[in-house]
Amino acid sequence: MAQAAITTENHGVEHHEETSTGLGHRKLLMWSFLGSECMFFGSLIATYLVYRNQSKVGPWPEEIIDVPLTTVSTFVLLMSSLAMVLALNYTQRNRPNLARFWILMPAALGSGFLGFQAFEFTEFFHEGLTPRINLFGTTFFVLTGFHGAHVTLGVIWLLVMSGTITPKGMGAVSLLATLLAFYLGMVGVLGMVDVIPDIEGSPSVIIFIVGVASTVIAGVWHFSMKTTMSVKHQAENLEITGLYWHFVDIVWIVIFTVVYLVSAGDGPHLAEGLLNG
């Protein structure tokens, strides 16, 4: 019987899980799921393309799409993929301290990407683009909204995984403190770009500064606690998480090209031409 490439560690003894196919069942399941996700996002992108330039009223993409901003957010998501693969690499090599650091990076960068998306959606809303206003709004928000939901799920999954490779006790407390401080800083950023209103008595810039300072302090505390715990047994779990995270990245690679770069020049002149022709 073939042996799967996956291993589990039990009381320091490493043994191989045997499967009838020779492939890890959970990894096979994840690849099958990602295949079905390809069809899901393929359908959404096809719908966007079919209804491209079919809107009868504005706002039009050429009026509101901010390509430089989205290029930066695309870069952030790409770098989160790099951080993810480094986290997996260090986990497979059983380097717990480096793995603990790098597993938080894709979660932080993914949160940053979501911040960009929240800012963009708010700006579009202020410009008058809503899911109901025209076909562009409907297809745009459905496509990018579903992608954002996938990123949100990925961030939560990564945070759970970071907990599994953190030593219990003070390690868990410092991890929680670091995360809370980081998200406090994110709240400050969202407030400063007017995505959320200022909290009365505490302007967003103050929240941001407190968040950054406490993230640094809690982060230094967390990562100064060295551990010798084995993390290699989490390698397969982290690999499955990574597959999902990289998939989210490749979907955005396509969305960035189709929705932003190619469609950024779409406007009433194209729509009228199509409608009249």
Binding site: L23, M39, T71, M79
Partner: protein, 154 residues
């Protein structure tokens, strides 16, 4: 090929064979010309660099998981491609050239992430077949939907 070159033990050939056999180190030895000799290693305008880089690439990309340096190289290439996409977007080229370049670069990024970051290049081939089949099915659904909805819209 001589016995020395092949590196395998062979039976000693008989007299007739030794006498007539062309190229063997026996009675009718025809001197080896330079054209018949293998290319000396590193004899190219770039010296040994292509062979060295080929070997390094093999070292980086083979095995269960690759090196940190390799992943940073892939991440840098992806970043450069993203910047190039933005640069192409800002140029005044014809729209057809801009769009086709953007789709080509997007496809390169897609396959680089799938192959290297998602480890399909290093992993069991059945994962590649599974994802490849689903991907082509997704493309088929994508094209069918384009055609169908386009027809319905008139």
């Amino acid at each position: 090929m001589t016995t020395e070159e092949s590196g395998t033990e062979q039976q000693r050939p008989n007299f007739l064979r030794r006498w007539l056999w062309h190229g063997d180190y026996r009675y009718l030895v025809i001197p080896t010309t330079y054209a018949e000799e293998p290319e000396p290693e590193g004899e190219s305008p770039f010296g040994r660099a292509p062979a060295t880089w080929k070997r390094k690439w093999w070292d980086w990309t083979s095995g269960d998981h690759s090196t940190v340096f390799f992943y940073i190289v892939i991440g840098s290439i992806l970043s450069v491609i993203t910047l190039s996409e933005y640069w192409i977007f800002t140029t005044d080229l014809q729209q057809v050239w801009v769009n086709s370049s953007l789709f080509a670069l997007s496809a390169i990024k897609f396959f680089m992430v799938v192959a290297f970051f998602m480890h399909l290049k290093f992993d069991n081939k059945w994962f590649t077949y599974l994802f490849g089949a689903a991907f082509f099915l997704a493309i088929a659904i994508f094209l069918s939907l384009l055609a169908l909805l386009d027809k319905l819209n008139g």
